[in-house]
Subunit: 423 residues, 2 copies
């Protein structure tokens, strides 16, 4: 949306939220290292046309279906969670070009109780829920009348999934415990513990040396690493495949993402993994004027290319590519529906992996600059990586306003500690 | 709590929220001029003993009853609003000295529907609700399928009560409309309106010249002032005493405060207005070792003094006075229950009004430095007052962390406009 040429296109954005979440920094907001608004970018700041130009709009709604022949989508407004809110209503939007960029859903692998009892880490309201619950548990465990066993359960934070999100969240949490809980909740500091459960190896996409470093670092910060598969989740305990019961007060689920039920419902051919299948130019080949980018899309098997990982890095690069492609099509006179037949599309989309990063708390991070899991390249771990991690993400935050706030949040966390108001 | 001498006292704070709200700046957070956390001060930052000293605690609970003879209070934990939260449980806390500082409740004057449909402006979650609802209404009114009439209703913001809170909120709102809505929601900018309803005169405690200035300033910013009494509140309209129906999309109720049902339930003599009655030393005279300060307390008729207004200024001065008094009692050996009989309490509490301030939006404010409504003194209005208003409040914010954030919020609002993410 940011790079679309609004002199030629009218932009209509249909989304159930009016902001973009800068997900790589979301884990830091759960414990107050960063504030929620520092990682949320209003869409009107990303593409001002939606709030100003006569034919461009932001529509707070969910897309429910698409009619590629009629060139329209069906939508329903989102008004949940407000008192005296209007009842949702349905409407249609006509399009010349349609881009799906609707992301993925957290995977639960069909395990019972996950959706009811665990908290995901994908949206700002998830981070808010984690922060409120963590502070509630810390405070309740200090109130007279609670048993020792209940206190230990309340303050047991369990993270399922050892990918970058799970590891970064565990790192932030242990940092919060070492730095802030010891000072601000010193009555209960010996009761709080973090357990990270992973079926395979943590950070499996990283270099083996970095994985070992991360494991040592997490153990040193007091995180208990458990190799196991979760079988069942109940309201205050989960059960592992070896029968072990793990009582918890906070359960965060970060085992990766899969195709959403909306994506599954779409009448398009799918890539391996059930995402919207696209060709080399990110077009949905069975219909006209439809494109898909980000976590909701994947190369069709017929392209001979692998489905790209569900990373911010991929989505960003695809977004930029597609904006250029659409601007090119528009300038060549193919901007309207059903009329781009004779336009030369130029080079296909090629993804070049720049590397991966993850922080493990306590001013330590990993930077893996290899292009793929098998190739050779630079990999670093430690304070310098942590510095690179922070600097790199600071430059990726979209607006200057949020860059300023991220920097100031980091500064005040360093100077004053994290904010523990439960609001 | 801040000034209590923790070398002699153990401090136990029982409260349903773990932070203090800096209410004078709360109205600014509803539209994003300030962020919520900039006006919330965690109690552990105000009195660190509650989180560190072995006998001092913060207890997330509501006090439900007091037994002055046994020197105990009954409490119940507060766990509402979380999924899988513990069921609330009851417990008792014993005290040597008991201080009631539990504030007041918003007055509804028994008008039907106020609690169900209006939003008060007393807590951070009220400001969050207002901000979410305002942004929701702005976005919904831009979605196809809404009628012109419904659009006008959704974007009609009604404020009932023309005291400082109602006026400041109306001012912030009109400032938000002039500066941010015109830019960020330009499709609907001609539909949004603010109406301020007051039964008598706005800002009745201020100098007549300042009142006139405020009235002109509000009208100039587009606020419609209505003299009237609300008779009935329904889910999307309210009815005035002259029969006029006022449709609204957002209704903020700020008609002042009265004694809470908890205060009414306490077995103590009451001051005029139903607050906990206190003597000149802020003691509850019918029992031993009980004190009351702030909005929940008032001088007994027998003292011959007027009940003080429900202002932050009064509460702050009483808190400081009482901390000194309790420290004095403790040092004289009277810190325990039932043993302060022979201590000379020193001078009684005397309140000296320093003046009142209110902002009316668009860099304008009122400063009234008269000591009472009848006396003479300095009163100012305009940009200089606005500057005094901001500087004065900036110095009153308790922690350096929040002072920094308030200043930076003001700066970024000036530079980048207000944040319109609905999170």
């Amino acid at each position: 949306m940011k790079d679309l040429d609004t002199t030629g296109y009218e932009v209509v954005c249909v989304s159930p939220r009016n902001h973009m979440v800068f997900t790589p920094l979301l884990a830091s907001t759960c414990v107050g290292t960063l504030e929620f608004r520092s990682v949320a970018e209003p869409l009107a700041r990303i593409q001002p046309a939606v709030s100003k130009s006569p034919g461009s709009y932001f529509l707070l709604a969910r897309c429910t279906a698409v009619d590629p022949d009629a060139h329209t989508i069906d939508c329903e407004t989102v008004t949940e969670g407000e008192k005296d809110a209007l009842k949702p209503w349905k409407f249609k939007v006509a399009y010349d070009k349609l881009v799906f960029a609707c992301g993925a859903e957290a995977s639960t692998f069909g395990i019972r109780g996950v959706t009811d009892h665990a908290i995901f880490l994908r949206e700002v309201h998830h981070a808010q829920e984690i922060r409120r619950k963590l502070l509630l548990n810390l405070m309740l465990s200090d109130v007279p009348g609670i048993s020792e066993e209940e206190k230990r359960r309340l303050l047991h934070c369990v993270v399922v999934g050892g990918g970058p999100t799970g590891v970064e969240f565990s790192g932030e949490l242990s940092d919060f415990i070492i730095r802030d809980v010891k000072q601000r909740y010193s009555h209960v500091k010996d009761y709080i513990h973090v357990t990270l459960i992973e079926a395979n190896e943590i950070l499996s996409s990283f270099d083996v040396r970095l994985r070992q470093y991360a494991t040592n670092q997490l153990i040193k910060s007091g995180v208990r690493l458990v190799r196991g598969i979760v079988k069942d989740v109940q309201s205050n305990k989960l059960i592992l495949d070896n029968g072990e019961e793990v009582p918890y007060g906070l359960l965060v689920w970060s085992t990766g993402v899969g195709a959403s039920s909306f994506v599954k419902s779409l009448p398009f051919p799918k890539s391996p993994g059930g995402r919207i299948g696209v060709d080399e130019w990110l077009r949905v080949p069975s219909v006209r004027d439809v494109f898909a980018i980000g976590d909701c899309s994947g190369f069709l098997e017929s392209t001979g290319k692998d489905v790209l990982p569900a990373l911010a890095q991929v989505a960003e690069r695809q977004g930029k590519y597609l904006a250029r492609l659409l601007n090119h099509i528009m300038k060549a006179g193919g901007g309207h529906a059903n009329c781009e037949i004779n336009v030369d599309l130029g080079p296909a989309f090629v993804y070049k992996h720049l590397g991966s990063m993850a922080t493990v708390g306590r001013y330590k991070a990993l930077v893996d600059l290899r292009q793929s899991k098998e190739s050779r390249g630079i990999s670093l771990a430690g304070f310098v990586s942590w510095f690179i991690w922070r600097s790199a993400y600071l430059t990726r935050v979209i607006s200057w306003r949020n860059r300023l706030y991220v920097a100031i949040n980091w500064l005040t966390t360093l100077l004053f500690g994290r904010d523990i108001s439960r609001i």
